[in-house]
Symmetry: C2
């Protein structure tokens, strides 16, 4: 029994090692691979993908799972051991339900669709993307059908990205969130005090921004002995345990782009670095869910990074590190500028308040698409209508509208909602944190960020994948996920900032 369990974990470890190798290939490709190496790299990536599939469908996994579960000592196993077995079983069931031919075809189709999307976006021409999107959309439904033929495809996909989530549960979260957000945006717009955001766009030389990154990284306890920070077109985090790599991008006329990317990716990175050492290479020693992962990045970036308390400590240091560029800047004005609420076209550039509407918009479109209520050919129009309705914005170009995100072209429908879920989790964690550490703001104001981060490490990060995300939220906060803390947080923060 014990031997079989260990054998099972060994196969799981093999899967993790192969995954890590794939992650390095991907990181290298984005960060420093010579351009000409792309075909060679895709051969390597293809090989690793095939290997991954082979390792994770190893029939030995099924045999071991069956033997362990049917064993008389199974009931006596610890909760951790049972959770490991459950997680391996869940993945194994999924991956073995997918015919290999389909997996290969799906991957190929998505690669082609991504290329078509890039072209269509560059040329601002949705019609060029439409047939590919239709194809990959059909395949996503087929994928869901292989996994659970008796459940509506969108429900399968939502659960695939965030175990336990359904469109109904998302609706329960998004309906009040949407309402409150629209109300908040209106109030901010009507407020008599409007922020002066011009300071954001002051030119900050890249070497100074690089200095800022390197100052920030230890401050948020991202361990550079077990990680790196580099530059790539789109910021991302990859790797695991003792080799976690984050990236940022620098814009000379917008320091916030890199600054908050470092905070955001640093949050993802710390979550990976802080996985419990004793569970290494076990399913429980992994991140819990995409929503949970995003809760960490959002917490570092927004809850901490855009807070008054953090900047009470950091603004002087920031001014010092940036020379005399911001020497005239006042604390209150700075806070208002980096928290300005401004409905905008592009999701990844959206502020903390409007961001969730970008997600809810995508969720509603996905839901209606899968329900057959709308058609792909109508997406540009629907997108524009919704942007007008929700954010009051006129989308003029599809490249700034329906064509802005890569996700759908890669076949990832049902992924977007996890982003807002991250915000919900983060606010709920924060609500508990400030009860556990009543003087949290005094600590932050003194630059003691570690106390805050240690709480998150102990209570959330080190728990890995021991619980499903909603259960983990319950364990940590005493309540299942609810949008009320996010709504309260935003209301309180922005009414103070805008004075309404």
């Amino acid at each position: 029994m014990k031997e079989r369990y260990e054998q099972l974990l060994l196969i799981y470890k093999e899967m993790q090692v192969v995954g890590q190798i794939g992650m390095l290939l991907g990181w290298d490709q984005e960060v420093l691979m010579p351009k000409g190496g792309i075909i060679q790299r895709s051969e390597q990536q293809g090989y690793i993908a095939g290997l991954n599939h082979k390792v994770s469908t190893n029939p030995k996994i099924g045999e071991l799972l069956k033997e362990i579960k049917e064993h008389e000592d199974y009931a006596k196993m610890s909760e951790i051991e049972k959770r490991n077995i459950h997680l391996i079983q869940r993945d194994y069931d999924k991956v073995t339900k997918l015919p290999e031919d389909f997996v290969i075809e799906y991957t190929k189709t998505s690669v082609i669709a991504v290329e078509a999307w890039k072209e269509a976006r560059a040329e601002n021409d949705f019609s060029k993307f439409q047939p590919f999107l239709e194809k990959i959309f059909e395949m996503a439904k087929q994928y869901a059908n292989y996994i659970s033929p008796d459940i509506p495809p969108y429900e399968v996909l939502l659960d695939d990205f965030e175990p336990g989530m359904t469109s109904e549960k998302y609706k329960e979260i998004f309906t009040p969130l949407k309402e409150a957000t629209i109300e908040l945006i209106r109030k901010c717009k009507e407020a008599s005090t409007q922020p002066d955001t011009s300071l954001i766009y002051r030119k900050v030389p890249l070497d100074i921004q690089d200095k800022l990154s390197n100052d920030l990284v230890p401050l948020i306890n991202f361990n550079m002995k077990k990680g790196r920070i580099d530059v790539s077109t789109h910021p991302f985090t990859t790797g695991a345990y003792d080799d976690v790599r984050i990236t940022t991008r620098y814009r000379v006329d917008d320091f916030t782009s890199s600054f908050f990317s470092v905070m955001h990716e640093g949050g993802h990175g710390c979550y990976e670095q802080n996985q419990a050492e004793e569970w290494r290479y076990q399913p429980v020693g992994n991140y819990c869910s995409l929503g949970l992962h995003e809760s960490q990045s959002r917490f570092y970036e927004n809850t901490l990074g855009r807070s008054k308390s953090f900047w009470f400590y950091y603004l002087d240091r920031f001014k010092e590190l940036t020379g005399n560029i911001f020497s005239d800047v006042q604390y209150e004005g700075f806070i208002r500028a980096i928290n300005a609420v401004e409905p905008s076209m592009i999701r990844v550039e959206a502020d903390e308040v409007t961001y969730n509407l970008h997600i809810i918009l995508r969720f509603e479109i996905e839901r209606d698409l899968f329900a057959g209520k709308i058609e792909i050919k109508d997406l540009p129009r629907i997108w524009k209508d919704k942007m007008k309705e929700m954010l009051g914005i006129e989308v003029k170009k599809d490249s700034d509208g329906v064509l802005q995100d890569i996700h759908w072209s890669g076949g990832t429908f049902g992924y977007f909602p996890t982003y807002s879920l991250g915000n919900v989790y983060a606010a709920q964690f924060f609500n508990k944190l400030i009860k556990d550490i009543p003087d949290w703001n005094i600590k932050l104001e003194k630059g003691d960020i570690s106390s805050i981060l240690d709480w998150m490490k102990t209570n959330v990060q080190e728990k890995g994948n021991l619980y499903e995300a909603p259960d983990l939220v319950k364990v940590v906060t005493g309540e299942f996920p609810t949008p009320k803390y996010l709504i309260d947080f935003l209301k309180k923060k922005y009414s103070a900032l805008y004075g309404f």
Copy 2:
């Protein structure tokens, strides 16, 4: 038949892809991996090594080889196809002769021996290394025994590193080379004109040295769209085809360290980049042998890089790029300085003339060790005696003597001779090149380095592994490898430089 051949090439391609993945893991480890990632990386490397062994011992290879060779159409296959089959067969025979247990044990032992060597070298204490060296030496013999039990082990190893080579053939090359070199060193020492090498040690800031590297790389046609240059503790080259990476290291008080490393590794790198596109992922589309690889690096570094003609063109540019550091330097004096012949302790720092004696010393020791004429415990003394006899140098510390190289600790006996073979090949190629391009020196003096490199590309590099190294040398130069061109080259060059 055709189908089987293609199947065979497909398996071979798989081996290459796995090899490339392993190379990237290794490169990353040396160049930028966070320190803490080492254990994780060794898991990944171990996995790839196991995969490599699995893929290259795939019984399907043996079956396909047999079916192809027994097929009635086999005789009708092209020379290239037959060469591919031969090379796959050769590797397959070798790798399948080694019991898996032995391979694992050998790898583990060498890892431990390398660690012991590092410690012993740091502490200048051979006795700490001796038992490990004895162990790995026995295993190297055992390795040779598995490959060819009827042939003396050292002969097996020499052939393993450089197919077709034997100790007798090396002796034929090394005996006259040794004699001529000792004579040359004596004459240089006695010459009335001695170089002033002090300019070598002028401080050159690292950013300037970096500028030099980036200037040099395109000059030698190393394609940065298909490659990179980075910094590592020991310079090396890795990768293949469209993703080839070279490294260098910078010493502020010796610009030649990096400058000639870039030339040297650039030679290795161009050889990889210039493999024929139509033979990609086939055995013939690989480098020919270690000696051939070294002939390219040595050609770029020494034959070109330390030549009067190259510096006739480059010195002005060099002076410009380095600001006013070398503005007072005279052409003749500079050439003499970078070509100074000075017997020294350390192989990797040796000049073009004395270098071969360092190799011959190692060859003689290896040969006598395997012949049972000497024992490992006596190596420190033997090393000192030979250094005294051949280079006239008193070795005071074993860390500067027998402990200086990593090779033996890794079990690589029989590798060193390929380095001098590289010099022999390079000189022989050069002798042909200057017949084919009679105005080569005028071209070089004008900065037209491409003409020279194109000759090497067409005649040597693009030939890949179509021939055994000695046959390739014959095809290119009309003669089998002979040391006479190297000896002539050195005599001519150094008599002119030292005026004897």
